[in-house]
Structure formats: C-alpha cells, structure tokens
C-alpha cells in the first residue's frame, strides 16, 4: 500500500506539468513537453513464487496488482541554441526507492556538430538492447510489457556519461553507429531486501542497419561492478573468510557470488521485420560474467499480424544461466561449515535461471495516441531455475506460472 501511495504521489506531482504539454508544444518551437503512460492490471505470481517484471518492482505473490505494469513519464525538450538541445525525462513507477535521483531518468545536453552526428552528455537511457531505452513507453512497443526473460536481467535504466552517434544512409539502408561510456547503477528489490549496484566504467557500442521494412542491430557493452550492497553479503563475506584447508572450494564459490570487482560483457543481436502487416522481432544475448547471478544466455522471438487496428501476436522466450556451480560436499573438511555450505547451495539455487515463457496477446490501436493491450504468459520454471522469480522458499520442483495483463497505453 505504501508503494502504491508513493507511486500515486509521484504521478500527482508530475501531472500539472503534463496537463500543459499540448499548450507548450503549440506555443513555441523551442520547448516541447510530452509524456507517456501505462495504466495496467496484472494477475500473476503464486503464494511462494513471486512475479517480478523488473527488479525495481515489488514482487507480486498472486492476486491483482496495478503497480506491476503502471508507469507515467514526462519529457521536456528544450532547444537552447542552434544544434544544442537539453532533455529531461522523469518517470513515476513502482520502485524500491522513490527518490529524486531515481525519478529523473534522463537529464542531458545534446549537440549536433554535423547533420550526421550527435554528441550527448549527462544522464541518458541505457541502450543495451532494442527496447532498453524506451521500455517504459508501452505505447511504443507491441507487448503489454518487455519480454521478462530478456529484459528483466537488465536492471539498469540510465547511466551518467556521454555518447556519440553517427548515422547516414548507405546503399543497403540507414546505418547507425553509437559509442558510449560512463557509469551506471540501480537500486533493486531482490525479495530478501534491497540490492544497491554501482557499475563503472560502463562502455560499449551498438550498430544498426535498417530500411523501411527491417532492422538489424548488434551491441557490445562491458562494465565492472564497482560496488554492491546486497542481502547476501554476510554469507558471501563468510565464504571469503573460510580457511583454504577446511574448504578449498570456498574461495571459488566466493568469486562466483561476490559480484564486486567483476567484469561483465553483454553481446546481443536483434532483428525486426514489418511488412505485409506481419510484425516480427527477435533478439538474442550472451551475458558473460564471473558473477553467477548475471552469467546467462537469453532470447526471444515475437511474431504478430495486424488485422485492421488490432495486432494479434505470440512470443516465445527463454533465459538460462551459463553455468551452475554447486557445493562439493566432499571438499568440506569441517562439520562446522555444513550450515554455511547449505546456505551457499541455497543461494546458488536461488540465483540460477532456467525459464521459458510463451505468450499470446493482442494490441488494439483504438486512438492515434492510445492503445489497449492484453496478454497471457505461460511460464515454465525448472527446479532450482527461479532466478527471475522472487522465491519465498527454495524452488525444489518444476513449476508453471500464468500471468494475465491488460493495460491502457497512451502518449501525449
């Protein structure tokens, strides 16, 4: 209830500015206020296995929630001088920490030195995958929510730094190359408490080629986890203190669980196609890291067909951890360490990911600025593969989950 109130309060603070969006837009060419929103209802989760579409959200253990998909955003673009612009975007949504620093999603200056290039500096949206920059703008994509197996592991929303983008039309299509660098972080809800993450340097590039009907996109990003504060810290620190002679494997397990000072690499390839009223999109990613929680492979394929103002679609997605370290009981020389060993194995099981989802849904564009969407997700999560769920108890058997979501998406 407290989180619902804080969400509503944030929306109320932003609404007066939103009401004037059209007036500002019409009043001057230099200032533009625009916004987006999603009002959603979600039925999902089970008593012991919580649904969480993004790590910043409160998990949902059954019942109906208005918070899971609802979001409200405002964006102000201001032309300061020729080729120099400023942009601020504020987003109200359910999050573990509802403070000014998290609500201001973007605040940056952009400068166009040439017609083909743009340099930006400040706080900007993380541009890892096709939807990461606009995952909050439900109106801009087909589904009721970004594919959980693919987008939930990316808990990063924005970064502080710079980017440089170059684009031009070449023979096969419109080419774009972007390089970026800076630092990022997030404050997320991992069920047992709050996890604070700071990553720097955060650097990468992406490149895309698109024409009227198709787009291909490749990305690479690498970052180092500079700071982490997590509920599992006491356990991880205890592993680090175990003498090598008593449990030789403890150091290696500590290395896979600690997170801090760990380099992570993100590789991804995406493809979209929109012709003859068929809408197809697919992305695959490989995330490699010594930190076992985010060392994974994931992907999805979405296909939809427009029939008048309605688009019917289906999505198939998966996420799997790249490795599954296990506690080797034979290496433990002291009975006093059994409790720590069990807790370590439970943690390894809890962060392991092995999950698939098939979704069916529809989008109805009933207004030029609004769309109604409905979606059913059927999820299979394997035993000890619930790293994308919030677990109240160990997942010691395979489970299936059904999630229904209906939402109204609008822009203004």
């Amino acid at each position: 209830m407290l989180r619902l109130l804080s969400f509503l309060l944030t929306v109320l603070v932003m609404l007066p500015l939103g009401q004037h969006a059209q007036a500002f837009d019409l009043g001057t060419d230099r200032l533009r206020v625009s916004g987006f929103g999603t009002l959603g209802l979600t039925w999902g989760g089970k008593k012991d296995y919580g649904l969480q579409k993004e790590f910043i959200h409160d998990p949902q253990f059954g019942g109906v929630s208005i918070l899971t998909d609802s979001v409200f955003g405002l964006q102000v673009d201001f032309n300061i001088a020729k080729n120099l612009d400023a942009t601020i975007q504020a987003v109200a949504e359910d999050r573990i920490r509802q403070d000014f620093n998290n609500i201001v999603d973007w605040a940056y200056l952009s400068y166009k030195p040439t017609a083909n290039s743009v340099i930006r500096a400040g706080r900007m949206g993380v541009d890892l995958f096709m939807l990461t920059e606009y995952r909050n703008v439900g109106y801009a994509y087909l589904w009721t929510h970004p594919v959980i197996e693919f987008y939930k592991p990316i808990s990063l929303s924005h970064y502080e730094g710079f980017d440089f983008r170059y684009s031009r039309r070449i023979k096969p299509g419109y080419f774009e190359f972007k390089v970026f660098g800076g630092q990022t972080g997030s404050d997320i809800d991992v069920g047992s408490g709050e996890l604070n993450l700071r990553m720097r340097p955060f650097v990468g590039f992406n490149t895309s080629l698109e024409d009227n009907d198709w787009k291909i996109r490749l990305t690479y990003t690498t970052t180092n986890t500079a700071f982490i504060k997590a509920p599992a810290d006491p356990l991880v620190n205890a592993l680090n203190r175990v003498p090598q002679a008593l449990w030789p494997q403890a150091a290696a397990l500590h290395d896979r669980l600690k997170g801090v000072d760990t380099q992570t690499h993100y590789f991804s390839a995406g493809f979209s196609y929109d012709k003859h009223n068929w809408v197809i999109q697919s992305e695959f990613a490989l995330i490699t890291s010594r930190w076992v929680s985010i060392d994974m492979t994931n992907g999805y394929l979405s296909a939809g067909k427009r029939i008048g103002p309605v688009t019917l679609y289906t999505v198939g997605s998966y996420a799997r951890s790249n490795s599954q370290p296990r506690v080797d009981q034979n290496q433990i020389a002291s009975a006093d360490l059994q409790g720590l060993a069990i807790a370590t194995q439970n943690l390894l099981n809890a962060v392991h990911i092995d999950q698939n989802t098939v979704s069916l849904g529809m989008r109805w564009d009933f207004h030029p600025r609004a769309a109604l969407k409905m979606q059913w997700d059927h999820t299979w999560t394997r035993k000890h593969g619930g790293g994308l769920l919030e677990l109240n108890k160990p997942l010691d058997h395979d489970i299936t989950l059904n999630t229904f979501s209906a939402n109204l998406n609008f822009i203004f």
């Binding site: 060419d29 975007q89 973007w106 109106y139």
Partner: protein, 165 residues
C-alpha cells in the same frame, strides 16, 4: 449468364469517384525541385536525408487523425498510421527526434509552405496552387472508402509512386 452476373457485380463494386494524388510540396524559393522516395522517407521518419545545409527542410504533418496523413504514410512506407505513431513514440522518447509539427488541414499546409522557404508538406493535389513546387507525388488508388480500406490495410503493399511531378 454467369459472366453477366460477374460483370454486373464488378460494375457495382467499381469506385464511384477517384481521389486526387497526394503531392509533396516546398516553397519555390527552395533550391530543391525533386526528392527521391528514400529522401521523403528519411525526412518524415526523423532521419537525415543527406541534403546540403542550404537545402535543409522542416517537415510539416497533417492532423494526427486525418485520412490524408494515414494515406501519406501508407504511400511512402506501406505501414498503417498506428505503426507510424508507435515509431515516432520510439524516436521521441529515446531523444532521437521530434515528430513533424502538425497543422490542421491542406490550406494550413499551403499557407506555411508559401511563407517558409525551408518548409516541406503534403496535401491533396486538388488544393495545389502555383505558389508552391511539387517535389514528389504519391498516386492514390481509386477507392470507394479510403478510411475503411486503410484501417483494414487491404491496399497494395506500396502505392505506386513517381519521383518527379
């Protein structure tokens, strides 16, 4: 008899009136006299059309819910207005570009193009006058109910276009 029935049905179903083409227009003071299909797409889809600095154009759109806007975007991209609107939401809310400014109707487009040498717009050919230059033409197929056709996107995948007036 069967042939007669088919011919009668075809006559009944034939369009009762023809719609004028959509023309893309600029101010005569602009040094641009013609644009390619790709350039029109780039200008109206928030990309750099590769024009020289002295030929930069500022696009103007018709009303968001107007038939001519739907037909214009369908003519250049083969996509319904809903897909174009979602596309522009992606560009706007990733900070890449702002959508073209919308005006009320054909006469408002004419008014802007006549006054602004950097403006580019589109309108129904019937409202064309000699104060503007046509740089691209989108041929409309004859259709009885263009709105319904567009909503159901039963038109040919890409309307035939000509690159010069």
């Amino acid at each position: 008899m069967r042939l007669l029935f088919i011919l009668t049905a075809l006559i009944i179903l034939l369009p009762h009136h023809a719609l004028a083409d959509i023309v893309v227009i600029v101010n005569p003071r602009s040094s641009i006299t013609a644009l390619t299909h790709h350039q029109i797409i780039d200008i109206y889809m928030g990309r750099n059309p590769g024009l020289a600095d002295d030929k930069k154009l500022q696009p103007y759109d018709q009303a968001l819910d107007s038939t001519i806007r739907s037909e214009f975007y369908y003519g250049i991209t083969g996509k319904p207005a809903s897909a174009i609107n979602a596309y522009w939401a992606r560009l706007l809310f990733t900070g890449r570009a702002s959508p073209p400014k919308s005006v009320a109707d054909d006469s408002a487009i004419l008014d802007i193009i006549e006054k602004n040498p950097m403006a580019i717009g589109y309108l129904d050919r019937r409202y064309l006058n000699d104060q503007v230059t046509v740089v691209y033409t989108i041929k409309r197929q004859d259709q009885k109910e263009p709105d319904a056709e567009l909503q159901n996107t039963q038109l040919s995948d890409t309307l035939p276009v000509t690159e010069k007036p």
